[in-house]
Symmetry: C3
Subunit: 312 residues, 3 copies
């Protein structure tokens, strides 16, 4: 009997019940990280492989702490050291991984769809930790958890997501999650950073940051790749900060009890001013703490029950 | 009382009884990796150091999963991060390692003989995970286990090993293991890839791949370094594939129940065609699964008993 | 109730009682590493983060083995893979780390003072594993333990530290530790390697290696960065070795039962001749073994008790 779905690949493929189950489980997991002994034996004897084809500190560390607090065994393959990857196709890598019989493979990959490909070929559960420009479901889930904790519900909230939407898998997953939970989502950025046709994802678009922030219950700022700014026709960071950065003055347009969010790492003074990043409305560190809790929940739900694969 | 030998350095130094003990233990270990809780407490409190002076994903990961399923503590030193290695001689590194009192050091090193040097200086057990062009005993043992599982016995089997024999420590260790178990071994490759005098290892040599495959019970294909092909006077990969690659037509020359093997990672379409790598005769993934089992057996045998060193 | 101080940042901030407590605890810890099962459950469920912004094999490995023998969960962030570090300020990194609720952060950083900065901002304990040119307290503690084991007491000992004093955080921490314990400390090196005003640290200075070694109870040789020698106006390694290296002849000037120490890794034939590094007076490998014990003691003392932070 499988207690939960095998893989977590993106938000769209999750049912409402599954999303609720993840968030509710994450609330319980959060308590474990507050204990003096931050460890439960739930995943003892389970093997979790971290297959990070793109560099990552924050997400990998969050998943690794999550796995260890659940007592799982962890093994890492990174892009740079991975001859497994260089010399062979991703399908071969998948098959080789499977032969070592892991329970969960947490994958980050530069190619959109790589986790789906693995999911179809491995008996192990696949957790997508970010694939190309496609999805970053654990990030969206921790964002949803953070908002839910502060606002009770996402239904009817006005949420602005501001920045380089086109290059953000976080934005894509947030769109899917937030609209699903009944929020009104506004995507905002210069025309060069907004992909065509994203209205079809159920979000509205504006190129005016003031308009996006006005009346918002949540403002999510995206990290800007400084080295890309020129390609977007900004001559300086300051110019971008003026047009799209979140500062105290712009934030006054939002609701009084607005939440300020950011997936990190923050470029202080570029997309967000320091006093806002550290201000009372910022829940950026709640996001980080919730990240561990959500990833514990995901690991627990896909690997904690008795699985068909174990009976083979 | 020492239950088993201290070090596993190469196949030649193992007795027939020791090889049998390793393979028999590996069979038992394989079952552990199939359980829902893939962990036994046998090596709890033992420290296993991975000292990989050459990059490796596959072998390192296999050893690491093996160590963790036995509950050992693992610590890694890699070539790139190792100031320990750069600033000092290998002898000093060995002494420093010993001072931290590890139970096992799993070493991969570009220099043939490095594991032997360590073995003579450390109280810890040394497991050779590949040294220069010399030996890769755990690979040969997993190959022997894979063949034994399918064929019952290696005695009297005709085994062809095809490819760049000269640069392959896998081939060297397989020669030693297969001939020991009574198999007839044929080394095959272009003259540039066959070292002089390897007949002294008890194998016969041919430069004709069809001749090597004809009547074979096992065909082991070696990975070809594509960037080296020119040095071997092949103008293209296709030329190599035609002359020495394993494809459906060539495989027809072998016995009906031939096993196709490859130490991985596979260059599809070069040394082996995709339909053969994935075909019913391929046991390539069995090799990977057996790799974890054999390495669990090696770790268990050298570190699982009460050792003299512990009494110091 | 906190059993011990929260952070170990440098020797100067420790009281005499704290230093004694660390060394006494380290003596107990040393015994654990000699057992067949080298593991105690003391730090089970504690999360130790290794945040190494500078490469390190020896110190990281020593800390990692120490943490694992105490059953702590360990997670590493390294400089090269750390987008966490690149994209954000150290303060942001600190906050992000804290949000994941680690119990201990072991930090090595190129900037002097980085561990202090973290200590003021994290509820987690900070262990300084080397910061810039400032301090390396665990090294000084293991040096003190090594001398105490052989000499009973540091009081009244004559200790010469020879080499590139100016670039050595080990020397700075040793000065603080050795003088505190009542030793007479002589700093020795060419004028280019001795910073101005170090007499204020309570040590005497000489540029004559023979003078430094004469009558010494302990001679600590510092590793010389070979690539820096030209900047110090030495034309060859041999020239440095002649003027400041420790060889058999020079060592005759010391007390009969002199201890020869070196923080490693050793440049044989440069700052120390091989027969001295391996000779009967050398306690270099005792230092390495004591390193694990001291780091176990530090981890245990800061994280082993019930901490205020746990009650939050």
């Amino acid at each position: 009997m499988r207690a939960f779905r095998k893989d977590i690949l993106d938000i769209s493929s999750l049912s409402d019940e599954e999303i609720s189950a993840i968030l509710d489980t994450a609330e319980q997991m959060k308590e474990i990280s507050q204990r003096p002994i931050k460890k439960v034996p739930t995943l003892r004897g389970k093997t979790v492989v971290f297959f990070f084809h793109e560099p990552s500190t924050r997400t990998r560390m969050s998943f690794e702490i999550a796995a260890k607090r659940l007592s799982a065994d962890t093994v890492s393959i990174s892009a740079s050291t991975s001859s497994m990857v260089k010399g062979e196709t991703l399908i071969d890598t998948a098959r080789n991984l499977q032969a070592m019989n892991p329970d969960v493979v947490v994958i980050r990959h530069a190619c959109s769809g790589a986790p789906h490909m693995l999911a179809g070929r491995l008996k192990a559960s696949i957790l997508n930790a970010g694939d190309g420009l496609h999805a970053h479901p654990s990030q969206a889930l921790l964002d949803m958890l953070t908002i839910r904790q502060r606002k009770g519900d996402l239904k009817g909230l006005r949420i602005a997501i501001i920045g380089d939407i086109a290059h953000s898998r976080v934005a894509r997953s947030d769109f899917a999650g937030f609209t699903r939970m009944g929020a009104e989502v506004i995507a905002c950025g210069p025309p060069t950073m907004i992909p065509c046709g994203i209205e079809s994802l159920g979000v509205s678009v504006t190129h005016d940051a003031d308009e996006a922030v006005r009346g918002a219950d949540v403002v999510m700022m995206l990290r800007i790749q400084k080295e890309r700014l020129k390609g977007f026709f900004f001559s300086t960071e300051r110019e971008y900060a003026g047009a799209y950065g979140l500062n105290a003055e712009r934030l006054k347009l939002a609701e009084k009890d607005v939440l300020v969010m950011h997936p990190g790492p923050v470029n202080r003074g570029v997309e967000i001013s320091p006093e806002i990043a550290d201000g009372p409305q910022s829940v950026i560190l709640d996001q980080v703490a919730n990240g561990v809790a959500v990833r514990m929940a995901l690991l627990l739900l896909v690997a904690g029950g008795v699985r068909d694969a174990d009976a083979d």
